[in-house]
Symmetry: C2
C-alpha cells in the first residue's frame, strides 16, 4: 500500500515543477526590458543603458539583447540613435499600443486575481518591514518619493506612484521582495493602462499614500500594513470592476 501515498501528490508538486526558463530565453530578457519601461524607471525621452551595459546586467549576449530591442523598435516603443551620445531612447506612449495584438494577448493571459493578491501581500509586508527598521537614509528617500507624487502632473502620476511603492519595497531590506514587487507591479501597470485614470481615485490614493508613509515614519508596522492593505484594496476593486 506504500503508505497511501502511492500517487504523486498533484497539488504541491506544481509549485516547484514550474518551467525552468519561461520561453525562448530571449523572451525573458524582453520581459525585463519591458518592465523597465512599464515601471517608468526610464521615462519617455530618456536613454536606456547602452547595449553593452544592459547585456552585461541581464547576462545575455549583446546579439540577443539587440533582438529584444529590435522588437521594441518595431513596436515604436524605443528609438535608436547612433554616434557618440547616441543610444536607445524611450518614446512617449503611442495612443494605440495594441496595434499588433502581440502585447494585447499577454494581458489576457495574466491571472488578474493572482496578481492582485500577490501584490497586496508583498506591498503590505514591505510596508510593515519598513516600519520596523527604517534608517535615516531610508526616511529621506521615502519622503522624497512621496513629495514627488504630490507634485506630479496627471500624465506623470502613474510613474511617480510606481516609484513610491518601489521605494517602499526596496527599503524593506529584502532584495527578493523588491525584485518580486517590481515584477508584479509591471504586470499591474499593464492592467491599469487598460482602465481610465479618475481624478477622484487619484486624490483618494494620495491621502492613502500619505497615511502609509506617516505610519512607516511613526514606526507603526500594524498601521502601515493596515493602511497599505486598504490602499491595495481600492485599486483591486477598481480593476475588478473594469475587467469583470
Amino acid at each position: 500500500m506504500a503508505g497511501g501515498a502511492g500517487d504523486p501528490p498533484p497539488g504541491p508538486l506544481d509549485s516547484v515543477l514550474r518551467p525552468v526558463r519561461a520561453g525562448n530565453g530571449f523572451e525573458e530578457a524582453l520581459e525585463q526590458v519591458l518592465q523597465l519601461l512599464r515601471l517608468g524607471l526610464v521615462p519617455p525621452g530618456e536613454r536606456l543603458p547602452s547595449e553593452r551595459e544592459l547585456s552585461q546586467h541581464l547576462r545575455i549576449s549583446r546579439v540577443t539583447l539587440r533582438e529584444v530591442l529590435k522588437v521594441l523598435q518595431d513596436q515604436n516603443m524605443v528609438e535608436s540613435r547612433r554616434g557618440r551620445y547616441g543610444g536607445t531612447f524611450v518614446l512617449p506612449r503611442t495612443a494605440a499600443p495594441d496595434g499588433s495584438g502581440e502585447l494585447r494577448r499577454r494581458i489576457a493571459a495574466v491571472d488578474v486575481e493572482d496578481t492582485l493578491r500577490f501584490r497586496e501581500v508583498l506591498e503590505a509586508g514591505a510596508a510593515g518591514l519598513c516600519a520596523e527598521g527604517l534608517t535615516a537614509d531610508g526616511e529621506e528617500r521615502l519622503r522624497g518619493a512621496l513629495d514627488a507624487t504630490q507634485g506630479a502632473r496627471l500624465e506623470d502620476y502613474r510613474r511617480q506612484d510606481t516609484l513610491l511603492h518601489l521605494t517602499l519595497a526596496e527599503l524593506s531590506g529584502s532584495r527578493t521582495l523588491a525584485a518580486q514587487y517590481a515584477a508584479v507591479r509591471a504586470t499591474l501597470n499593464e492592467l491599469l493602462d487598460g482602465i481610465p485614470l479618475l481624478v477622484r481615485n487619484l486624490e483618494h490614493s494620495q491621502q492613502q499614500h500619505a497615511a502609509v508613509v506617516e505610519a512607516v515614519l511613526d514606526r507603526d508596522p500594524d498601521a502601515a500594513r493596515e493602511m497599505t492593505r486598504e490602499h491595495c484594496g481600492g485599486t483591486a476593486a477598481l480593476l475588478r470592476g473594469f475587467l469583470a
Copy 2:
C-alpha cells in the same frame, strides 16, 4: 538640464536588471529538483516522476535533466533503477551531506536576512488570504495537513511542517505566491538543516500551528496574520541565534 534626472537612478534599476538566467541553465534545473527533495514533496524511499515527465515539466531536455540526476546520484541523494516500475528513488538523508562542500558553499551565499523577511511576508500574507476566502475543500486539506504534523515522528516533522505551510500558501489563491513560497521555504529548510531540532521549540511550534489554523478556520485574517508572524519570528530568532 534634463529634469535633474541625468544619471540613471542607481537603486530601482537593480530590482529589474537582474540576470535573466541564473547560471548554466542546468543549474536552475538542479535547484528545482533539490527543492523537491528539500521540501520533502517526495519523501525518502519514494519515486520521483519519470525522467520524461520531469523534463517536460521543467521544460528542459531529457539529456540535461539526466545531467542533474547524475549529480544527485553522485551525492548519494537518489538512486536509479531500470526496467518497468523502475525510476529514480529518493535515498534517506546521509548523516554527512556536507562531504563534498559543493552544497555547503551554497548556504554561505544565501542572504539569511532576505530569506527570513521574505518568508515572513509571504507566510503572513498567505494566512491572511486563506482566512478571507477559504473553500470547504480548503478547510479539509488544511485540517488534514495540521493533523499530519501533530502525529508526525521527530524525523518526519520537518517534512510535515513544510507541507502544512505549503498547503496554506496554495490555498491563498495566488499561484505566484505559492511558487515563491516553495522557493523560499526550500532555502529555509536548507538553513534549518544546519541547526539542531529542539523538542521544546517543536512543541511551541505545534501550538502556533494550531493557533494559525484555528484563526484561518474562524475566518479571522488579522489573527491569522498575527499568529503567523509570531510563528515566523520564532524560527527567525532561532536561526539568527545559531548563525550569528
